[in-house]
């Protein structure tokens, strides 16, 4: 349309895009009304992966629910674990130990890398750049091996606990992470040389799916999608949680709010995350990881097996109605997940299970704003825009 192509004046055509389509990354569905090649109207449909997370929250106790948060945004489970336990801890009025806060930041930033890498691989794959997909998965596998050594699982990590984390970092973790972070900028540069000045990549993403800063705020966009429009808002800076005020990093912003800017912002965020990881490793404090609070944290495994006190303590924590019991009240806690503002709104009635858990997912808003970015564009841009938003169905539909 913009390129001087003649506008077809035939009948309107309705194109059903998804829910099963290679570029929908799972289960998204968009119904497009087309006039020739240009999109007149786009209607996104959600709910194909609705799992009932919020209902489940009313039936599981506070520590059991961590397992469920893994499966919400499956690109960065550690960030979800982090956001959720932070909300519960703030509801309880607890502050975890310094070392624990640092470990959590370390893991959250590594999972930000994992998320952005997968986004990079698939977004490029959708536009035909297959090698980027292989490159980013190569780096991702290195991250997965660090996650696996730390948490015991590649993907469903369930690493955090209310009042601490599952266990301390493994011996040699620091070397592994340092080695990864040391090599990572070089690996990312390979992708830069493949994409950033690539004629095809620029043609397909520059000026595509642009959204203005005002619209972005009005639609509730957060994270890289908001920052690409030029709004330098990052919850890690605006409302620092868990020692994020002790590390220095830049918040990259774009200017046009198009797919290309979202790409650049995410690329730069990865470099910033590497910086944060290095600072965290440099300043990692010693000391205990978990809180010494018998009402909240589990005893050491050796205690639970070897001493009667430890056994009773363990029993008390895992028994129904004896574990973590926040006081009656409610709390909303927002964290900067790789995709944007991930919020948990927890209403407690004073018992061991939450009365209501509401998850505020960033992808929900990004997917909702899609018509604003698509309408008036070309049908082939749909894939580019959808790829640049990184909509995660598990988080969208919960």
């Amino acid at each position: 349309m913009q390129g001087g192509l003649e506008r077809a004046t035939g009948e309107k055509m309705v194109l059903n895009f998804g829910p099963q389509h290679p570029a929908t990354h799972g289960t998204l569905r968009i119904v497009l009304e087309l006039d020739g090649e240009s999109v007149l109207k786009a209607t996104p449909h959600a709910g194909y992966l609705h799992t009932g997370f919020e209902k489940l929250g009313e039936h599981l106790d506070y520590n059991q629910y961590i397992v469920v948060t893994d499966r919400m945004n499956y690109l960065s489970p550690l960030s979800n674990n982090f956001g959720y336990v932070l909300a519960v801890e703030q509801l309880l009025g607890l502050e975890v130990t310094k070392r624990c806060q640092y470990i959590r930041i370390l893991m959250a930033e590594l999972s930000r890398l994992a998320d952005h890498l997968l986004w990079l691989g698939t977004a490029a794959l959708d536009l035909g750049a297959f090698s980027v997909f292989l490159y980013s998965f190569r780096e991702r596998e290195k991250l997965y091996s660090i996650f696996e050594k730390t948490t015991g699982a590649r993907l469903t990590t369930s690493y955090t606990r209310v009042g601490g984390v599952l266990r301390d970092l493994y011996a040699g973790c620091e070397e592994d992470v340092r080695q990864f972070v040391g090599n990572f900028p070089k690996a990312l540069k390979e992708t830069h040389t493949l994409l950033t000045r690539n004629r095809i990549w620029m043609d397909r993403t520059k000026g595509v799916g642009a959204i203005s800063a005002d619209d972005a705020i009005n639609y509730g966009l957060t994270g890289p999608c908001l920052r690409a429009t030029g709004v330098a808002h990052d919850i890690r800076k605006a409302e620092p949680y868990s020692s994020y005020d002790e590390v220095t990093f830049d918040v990259p912003v774009g200017t046009n709010g198009d797919a290309y800017d979202r790409y650049l912002v995410r690329m730069e965020e990865m470099i910033q995350s590497c910086g944060i990881v290095t600072q965290v490793l440099d300043n990692m404090p010693d000391g205990p990881v978990n809180l010494e609070d018998n009402k909240v944290t589990m005893p050491e495994k050796s205690d639970a097996y070897g001493h009667i006190e430890g056994l009773i303590h363990h029993f008390k924590i895992v028994m129904d109605g004896h574990g973590v019991q926040p006081p009656k009240g409610e709390h909303y806690c927002a964290t900067e997940s790789p995709n944007g503002e991930l919020g948990f709104y927890i209403v407690s009635d004073g018992s061991g299970t939450a009365y209501r858990i509401r998850i505020r997912p960033p992808s929900f808003f990004h997917f909702q704003a899609l018509p604003n970015m698509l309408e008036g564009g070309m049908v082939s841009d749909t894939v580019a825009v959808l790829g640049s938003l990184n909509v995660i169905a598990g988080e969208l539909d919960r």
């Binding site: 009005n218 909303y332 009365y355 909702q368």
Partner: protein
């Protein structure tokens, strides 16, 4: 004693102060819990309050973080406090101008399950209100497209209500493939 009171008044957040001056009759309760300001607002004036919060240049709550609801039917204390209103519609707002977060709660009675939509103020409210309608059955007056969003269109019931069983009412076993239009 008087001095102390003055100090207290001064430290009161700007939002509460302004709401008290402009919309004092709409406020049912106010609270400041864990760093967030919480106000409970009368239903018929909820739209006016939200509009005021968004458009007032000093407050500028331009970012609607979330709209959801809580079914208070099993929480006696909350029910008693707000005249046995079963549902509480919850709005979370954030101001990019440094006013922080505010949570606006609106009690909704079961016999009058409707509330004015805020889609005119925030585009982002569209899907949030659809989800709240889908999950709780609360109608939003003036909503441009109030349909189910997460559940299939022919689904009956509202899953996040407290009387809806976790394992459903057999919908995952009974299944009519012909009825669904994919």
């Amino acid at each position: 004693m008087n001095e102390e009171k003055e100090v207290e008044e001064q430290s009161k957040p700007l939002v509460l102060e302004k709401l008290e001056t402009h919309h004092s009759d709409a406020l049912l309760a106010q609270d400041e819990a864990r760093g967030t300001i919480v106000v409970v607002v009368r239903k018929d004036q909820a739209y006016a309050v939200l509009e005021y919060l968004k458009t007032d240049p000093e407050l500028a709550y331009t970012y609607l973080v979330d709209v959801t609801a809580v079914d208070n039917s099993q929480m006696e204390s909350e029910l008693m406090q707000f005249d046995y209103a079963r549902f509480m519609v919850v709005y979370q707002l954030y101001s990019y101008q440094g006013q922080g977060r505010v949570r606006v709660k609106v009690p909704v009675h079961e016999n009058d399950l409707s509330i004015t939509s805020v889609t005119g103020l925030w585009q982002g409210a569209n899907w949030l209100e659809r989800e709240t309608y889908d999950m709780f059955g609360i109608n939003f007056d003036g909503h441009p497209d109030l349909r189910r969003i997460l559940m299939p269109d022919d689904f009956e019931g509202h899953p996040l209500r407290k009387d809806y069983p976790l394992r459903g009412r057999g919908e995952r076993e009974r299944f009519n493939f012909d009825k669904q239009n994919v």
